[in-house]
């Protein structure tokens, strides 16, 4: 892929990412579907990179899914986010790092709105004081957690045990990267590389030895669409958009996909199962589907973490074909064991998708 020209053009989209001392805000979707990813992120940051990451048990949802399904007013969402700023301020931090891309987009929208309309910020300060008696300073540095991994990608490479290279052929793995829409489509200057050529995942993949696939529908939405997935009657929208992406990437024979958005990672995984069961189709040559990783899982594998400790058993599309290519040793029989190695049963096998 020709990247030199793009790097030059998009230099203006290289944003400042704080070096240390982060106030961490979790994601509802990530905690629900791939909780090992947040645990892995914290282990890498705190244990491997020796960074200071603080979490306050009193933080909540940002209400983002309620806001983007239009049942929560903007003023409410802004005030809930302002409360998170207050918790950050009370803890003595100035750098805030949301785990969720929807949250990150909203935090960015809130700060942008306040910059253009200071009277709205003043109103939200009044609401927050009235409701909670809290006050806040706006963050000095707001970045998504994937930006943090991007920033330390070369340090992670130095500590790595695994490269994104096919052990048998010695060739770089072909990787599809998917950026959550709200990472930079609304505010391109808020994302590393902007909206058209975001570098946040590309930077990680290339630093760790992989090759990025540039395919026609690379920037297309995964299809979450908020109300379009949450309401059962609308889910055709959601699966159709993922299907469009799968069909577009299929000719490039990806070894795996990686996403920086909690929702996207889940949908790109689950919709492959759904399409396989509905239509008897997979988008790989073996009938197992294309493995989907979160960027925290990808970093965890590169760091040599156990696949079952970071939560890869919670994916519907099996990751074993990818682990085999990476040359990572694992015990298949350990995959579904409980925390003390006890038997807690196994998932049933799908009708069509091979697991």
């Amino acid at each position: 892929m020709e990247t030199e020209g793009k790097k030059r053009v998009w230099e203006e989209y290289q944003k400042e990412i704080a070096d240390d001392h982060y106030f961490y805000v979790r994601s509802c979707i990530r905690q629900t579907f791939f909780p090992g990813s947040e645990t892995t992120f914290l282990k890498i940051l705190q244990n491997d990179l020796k960074k200071d990451v603080f979490e306050d048990a009193r933080h909540t949802t940002c209400t983002g899914i309620g806001y983007h399904t239009d049942i929560v007013p903007l003023e409410t969402t802004m005030t809930v986010i302002a409360r998170h700023f207050a918790l950050m301020t009370e803890a003595g931090y100035v750098n805030i790092i949301p785990s969720c891309v929807t949250s990150f987009g909203l935090y960015t929208e809130v700060l942008d709105t306040w910059r253009h309309f200071p009277e709205i910020e003043a109103k939200i300060r009044e609401y927050l004081w009235k409701a909670t008696k809290r006050e806040f300073k706006v963050p000095e540095n707001l970045v998504h957690t994937s930006d943090i991994i991007y920033k330390f990608r070369n340090r992670i490479k130095d500590l790595s045990k695994v490269s994104l290279i096919n052990k048998k052929t010695g060739l770089p793995l072909n990787v599809v990267e998917h950026i959550g829409c709200h990472y930079s489509k609304m505010f391109p200057q808020s994302g590393v590389g902007g909206a058209e050529f975001p570098a946040v995942l590309t930077g990680m993949i290339e630093a760790w030895g992989g090759t990025v696939i540039d395919y026609p529908e690379r920037r297309h939405c995964c299809g979450f669409g908020f109300r379009q997935y949450l309401v059962k009657a609308n889910r055709g929208y959601s699966v159709s958009n993922s299907k469009k992406k799968f069909e577009s990437m299929q000719p490039y024979q990806p070894d795996f996909m990686v996403a920086n958005c909690p929702g996207c990672s889940m949908f790109l995984d689950r919709w492959q199962y759904t399409i396989a069961e509905m239509e008897g189709i997979t988008y790989d040559s073996n009938g197992t589907g294309i493995p989907v990783l979160t960027y925290e899982e990808m970093a965890g594998l590169v760091m040599g973490y156990s696949p079952w400790d970071i939560g890869l058993q919670m994916h519907q599309v099996s990751v074993e074909p990818l682990l085999d290519k990476l040359g990572i040793e694992y015990k298949k029989e350990d995959k579904y064991l409980g925390s003390n190695g006890q038997n807690i049963g196994e998932p049933q096998k799908p009708m069509f998708l091979i697991v």
């Binding site: 509802c28 629900t32 909780p35 090992g36 947040e38 645990t39 979490e55 048990a57 009193r58 909540t60 949802t61 209400t63 899914i65 309620g66 399904t69 239009d70 049942i71 929560v72 007013p73 409410t76 802004m78 005030t79 809930v80 709105t113 609401y127 409701a131 909670t132 829409c181 489509k185 609304m186 391109p188 058209e196 939405c221 979450f224 669409g225 908020f226 379009q228 949450l230 309401v231 059962k232 009657a233 889910r235 055709g236 929208y237 699966v239 159709s240 958009n241 689950r270 199962y273 759904t274 400790d309 058993q313 919670m314 519907q316 409980g338 925390s339 807690i344 998932p347 049933q348 799908p350």
Partner: protein
């Protein structure tokens, strides 16, 4: 009630989202909803820009405004820096405030979203948590999710979460005093007013249609109707 256009113009998202549309249609070209539904963000912008009250009223009573997925892909590509997705958010808010949302099948779904997501936020402090992703309502989640649902505490423990416990960590229990703060924020900022409006108009519609509706929760016929009903006229 002021003019519809004037009310839209009080919404900051409308002000920020529509700087003057030149009707080039780039938003429609990039829009995932336009590809799937009978939906055209270019026409939405043209309609509200016309300031024609009858057309705007028809729009906020229609299915059309509920087709957008709020991915905001339109924002990136618009040469005038418009955000049709923000315009949609302002239209949806107005449609709900006026009770027009119950005129459309897709609009009526707001009741299910309010009960499921709105209720969950206030009950747990999360928009989404494992308890509300039931395998029965989400067959697309597959057998791995069935297994996770049957073993949630154990799997969460293995993943390093602090499932439903006090203190920091993934899927921790949000303390009652924190939920009280959320409750007060929802009160002060008008979220409960919007919730009450959605409830009032939904109950009126349910009664009009002769469908059973309860005062709370999702175990009622109206919830399941709006959650699952699809008359097949939205695309194709």
């Amino acid at each position: 009630m002021g003019k519809l256009y004037d009310r839209l113009n009080q919404d900051i998202r409308f002000i920020e989202g529509l700087n003057g549309c030149l009707n080039c249609g780039v938003c429609t070209a990039i829009c995932p909803a336009a590809e799937f539904y009978h939906y055209d963000p270019r026409v939405i912008c043209a309609t509200v820009q016309s300031k024609d009250e009858k057309m705007i009223e028809a729009l906020i009573r229609s299915e059309t405004i509920w087709y957008c997925g709020e991915c905001m892909s339109c924002k990136t590509r618009c040469p005038r820096n418009n955000t049709p997705g923000f315009v949609i958010m302002a239209l949806r808010k107005l449609s709900q405030e006026l009770g027009y949302f119950t005129d459309s099948e897709k609009g009526r779904q707001q009741f299910a979203i309010k009960r499921a997501i709105g209720g969950n936020i206030l009950r747990t402090g999360y928009c989404v948590n494992p308890d509300i992703v039931s395998p029965q309502m989400h067959p697309e989640q597959g057998p791995v999710w069935d297994w996770i649902s049957m073993n949630t505490p154990e799997i969460m423990k293995k993943m390093g979460s602090n499932y439903k416990q006090a203190g920091v960590g993934g899927m921790r229990a949000i303390a009652p005093e924190v939920l009280e703060e959320l409750d007060r924020i929802f009160e002060v900022t008008g979220c409960y007013t919007l919730f009450d409006t959605i409830e009032k108009h939904s109950k009126h519609k349910a009664n009009e249609l002769g469908i059973e509706i309860s005062d709370e929760g999702i175990g009622n016929e109206y919830f399941m109707t709006v959650y699952t009903e699809n008359n097949g006229s939205h695309n194709g």
